[in-house]
Point group: C2
Chain length 209, copies 2
Amino acid sequence: MRSKKGVLVVLSGFSGAGKGTVMKRLLEKYDNYALSISATTRSPRPGEQEGVSYFYKSVEEFEQMIKEKRLLEYAKYVNNYYGTPKEYVISKLEEGKDVILEIELQGAMQIKDMLPDTVLVFVTPPSAEILKNRLIGRNTEDMETINKRLARASEEAEGMERYDYILINDELEECVDDLHGIIQAEHLNMKKNESFVSKIKDEVKVFAN
Amino acid sequence: MRSKKGVLVVLSGFSGAGKGTVMKRLLEKYDNYALSISATTRSPRPGEQEGVSYFYKSVEEFEQMIKEKRLLEYAKYVNNYYGTPKEYVISKLEEGKDVILEIELQGAMQIKDMLPDTVLVFVTPPSAEILKNRLIGRNTEDMETINKRLARASEEAEGMERYDYILINDELEECVDDLHGIIQAEHLNMKKNESFVSKIKDEVKVFAN
């Protein structure tokens, strides 16, 4: 038995850690997960679908959502807004789905502020050496791109301790099972079972009389 | 991959919640667990073994252990001391064993103070009704004993929120798997992986230069 409300999980981590692959495999392998869908002001690309790839918004609509605090987090990249609509996430959690989303440190912190029950997971390869090899890749990129990536990893590492869990992506299936295990355990987190706890406490109090 | 040091788990909960059965089954079903062994000043009973059932101590020895802070927690019941020797627990954790022990709220809080990484798990039946039926038992006990047990449950409920996890013992195997899952997830807790984190952070910092 476990709390019926879903758990919100934020996945961050080094570029090259395989976050996307882990999420994809988690959704294939286990039921009960929903992906968060972002809102954006950028135009749909061929093949993308409203409400599947993104919720497409005008700048005015997006700024209205910011004003009304209808976004769990948002950021601007290259003149376009990207953000996580609160309503969609909350409705999935209420349905009992565990909602998973991939964002960077700053977004993760914004979400944790708004919804303190959010579980923050940082994904990393087993060693810096392996990370470096993955980032350098197959010599198809110039030195500048590679150096940017390496510098980026150094920035990403700064916020690691602010996450709740570290997920080491060595072997994919093991990593996915570990992530699933973390989320299952979080359903048993005392703070996520307040209604059950207060119910049984009230009932048990009667025994003393 | 996970932290190599063991996790210390304290199990508390309602009398009648089946803590003993859960622990026994956990140790049968999964490797890597060690039971904490208590120290006591009471005399060995027939069949009990030093270092297996208990570590038997004289009152002087026990009070010396208290003075030297060599106990993670202790209490006195019916003129006898009972406590958890720190050295035994720490050595098992260093070996990589997950150490599990069953104590009450006050002892649990003493341990958490001394070793903040300790995971506190509160075991409860699925409802107060079921707890009551288990406490009342099979009508072999007088009303006074039953009322004492019911009043005790009410006291035990008071500290519930101070635990990290709630474990609902409905179906035994599921409950044991849930407990094992909590402990596995705790190996991935960020705070329990400080040495890995600081190592990878240092290595990654070099990338930026």
